[in-house]
């Protein structure tokens, strides 16, 4: 049986591993708060496999949450996922964290918040230092359209974005800071949606062939950082792709 193995270490807390079988059986294992992602990943995957009574060889595809989120967490997830895809010789899929939140809020099965078949969703993640990663989409059973592409915003800017969304609207948030913001919005006409595992949402999206979970080339996959490194900000240098470019290996000499 071909399993989908989905990894999420994109946020500072609450990462998970999901194994999804073809018959819909699912093992969802959450990271322990006290252990780093790099330490626990394989114990989690092993636990998931054991719950399904499956073996490594049955993994047929790898999915990873590519961001935005915590830089270190994103890199551990992406590095692990691309290495697994390479070593298992299986296809790799990558999904945006904000897109997966939006899927959980109804865009997934086209169940929009209003009976006339249309609505919008605001997706929020903690970005540290009083900021949020935010994006908004309008959607119906037929289409999804970006109102605001994923970006890093101050909490005030998020409030301004929220006010632009029409009447049938949902808010979905993951993270301590944005949770309280989402609560406020819920008081102001937003229907709140709760999610726990981005990995499970992504595994399901991959199974459906959702366009928000495309297949990617392992050797070139990068996280979505949404922002410069601190060094670039401080020095006022934007190195762009220069950071990620392939630096051809040479023999040690």
């Amino acid at each position: 049986m071909k399993l989908i193995l989905a990894l999420d270490s994109s946020q500072r807390l609450g990462g998970s591993v999901t194994l999804l079988a073809e018959d819909g059986r699912r093992a969802e294992v959450f990271h322990d708060r006290d252990q780093g992602y790099a330490e626990s990943f394989f114990a989690l995957v092993d636990e998931g496999l054991e719950r399904l009574g499956s073996r490594i060889e049955e993994v047929g595809a790898i999915v990873v949450i590519r961001g935005p989120g915590s830089f270190t967490g994103l890199r551990i997830g992406v590095m692990t996922a691309k290495s697994l895809a390479f070593a298992l010789d299986r296809p790799l899929y990558a999904a945006g964290s904000l897109q997966m939140l939006a899927l959980a809020a109804g865009a997934e099965d086209g169940s929009p918040p209003s009976p006339d078949g249309a609505g919008s969703v605001l997706a929020l993640l903690d970005a540290g230092r009083g900021a949020a990663y935010a994006a908004a989409w309008s959607f119906s059973a037929a289409a999804r359209e970006a109102i605001a592409e994923p970006q890093r915003l101050s909490l005030d800017e998020v409030a301004a974005l929220a006010s632009r969304l029409g009447p049938a609207r949902r808010v979905v948030a993951l993270g301590e800071n944005v949770a309280s913001l989402a609560e406020e919005l819920a008081g102001g006409g937003f229907e709140p949606v709760v999610v726990s595992s981005l990995a499970s949402i992504a595994a399901a999206a991959c199974r459906r062939g959702d366009p928000w979970c495309p297949s990617v080339e392992p050797s070139t996959l990068l996280p979505v950082y949404l922002g410069l490194s601190q060094a670039e900000r401080i020095h006022g240098i934007d190195l762009g792709d220069e950071v990620h470019r392939l630096r051809p290996p040479r023999p040690g000499k």
Binding site: E39, M79, S229, R247
Partner: protein
């Protein structure tokens, strides 16, 4: 045993394949061009660059060895010390490959890698005293066998390589400074300028280089804006001589502290071990003490993965295995490792 080794503790992405016959491939992708913009290694950018480079370097290393993943029997990676986010990249890749292929995995202490670089081309003469001189470490290590180390003396402030790098920056030479100082020093006169050697007192095993760095700065200030090429060469020569004098003095002190008969071999490890004058000085020290000394191959002195794979191979052959829950560490003394 065929071992795949990965090194990503600083600004070099390196992967190597080794087997019982030696090194089959040893590839390095350097980020020096990236960090040059900032005058030193930027941890966040190092991590980002490792993430895009590890798999391509790994594929190239396998290809050069004439291996596929099917040939690999075990995986080793640097677990520290180093920049934690950078270490995590190589470590995560190595653990993934080990898990996916159900292969044994070991983490390697980067400094043990530097030391065992001496063992790659011929077995080391043990027990030995090893002087580790790299960008982040300067220490004398008593080595009984692979895996059995005791640190005798270490630097109380800057490492030797760091001192050369910082002084080179002050002199406007560029980065990394060690090789540039060596080149410039070749044209300088011995004794033209005198610089201090830290913690000179008898019996003191620790090193200190911060006074030397300050002395270089003061010298440069005294020379003013118009420094002649000859003066710069003399200064580079004085700096190199002072560093080497300190290294030899402390190595001799460590040998004295160990006492006669406890050591048969003398070794150099780390990037500064590429320095020809230091190698010559160790040649003389070894001869005076009747110790076996063979300088390490230059390719295995600065950061590389051959030394990591080789150190991993030693641990594996000794029956050691690490769990895939092994974490990365930024610092950890060599003696407490393994």
């Amino acid at each position: 045993m065929r071992v795949l080794g990965i090194e990503s503790s600083c600004d070099e992405t390196a992967v190597a394949c080794v087997d019982d016959g030696g090194v089959r491939s040893n590839l390095i992708s350097s980020q020096v061009d990236l960090h040059r913009h900032f005058g030193g290694v930027v941890p966040e950018l190092a991590s980002r660059a490792h993430l895009s480079n590890i798999l391509p370097v790994l594929s190239a290393a396998l290809e050069e060895a004439g291996w596929t993943l099917d040939e690999v029997e075990a995986v080793a990676a640097t677990a520290g010390p180093g920049l934690i986010g950078a270490v995590l990249m190589g470590l995560s890749c190595a653990k993934s490959v080990a898990w996916a292929r159900r292969l044994p995995f070991v983490g390697v202490h980067h400094i043990e890698g530097h030391i065992l670089a001496n063992d790659i081309e011929r077995p080391m003469t043990l027990p030995a005293l090893v002087l580790v001189v790299s960008g982040g470490h300067t220490q004398t290590v008593w080595m009984e066998a692979p895996g059995r180390y005791r640190v005798l003396g270490k630097t109380r402030d800057d490492a030797a390589g760091e001192t050369l790098d910082k002084a080179a920056k002050l002199m406007g030479l560029g980065y990394p400074g060690g090789p540039l100082i060596e080149k410039l020093a070749a044209g300088g006169r011995a004794g033209a300028i005198s610089l201090p050697v830290g913690l000179r007192r008898r019996g003191e095993l620790d090193f200190s280089f911060s006074g030397l760095k300050t002395a270089v700065r003061l010298r440069l200030e005294a020379m003013g804006d118009e420094v002649s090429e000859a003066d710069r060469a003399d200064l580079a020569r004085a700096l190199q001589d002072a560093v080497i004098e300190s290294l030899v003095l402390k190595t001799a002190a460590a040998l004295d502290a160990l006492g006669a008969g406890r050591v048969r071999g003398l070794y150099l490890a780390g990037g500064v071990a590429r320095n020809a004058a230091l190698r010559d000085a160790f040649e003389s020290l070894a001869a005076a003490r009747r110790l076996v000394f063979t300088p390490p191959p230059p390719a295995y002195c600065t950061d590389n993965a051959a030394m990591i794979a080789w150190a991993g191979r030693h641990r594996l052959l000794a029956g050691q295995r690490d769990s895939l829950q092994l974490g990365a560490f930024a610092r950890r003394p060599l003696s407490s490792w393994s």
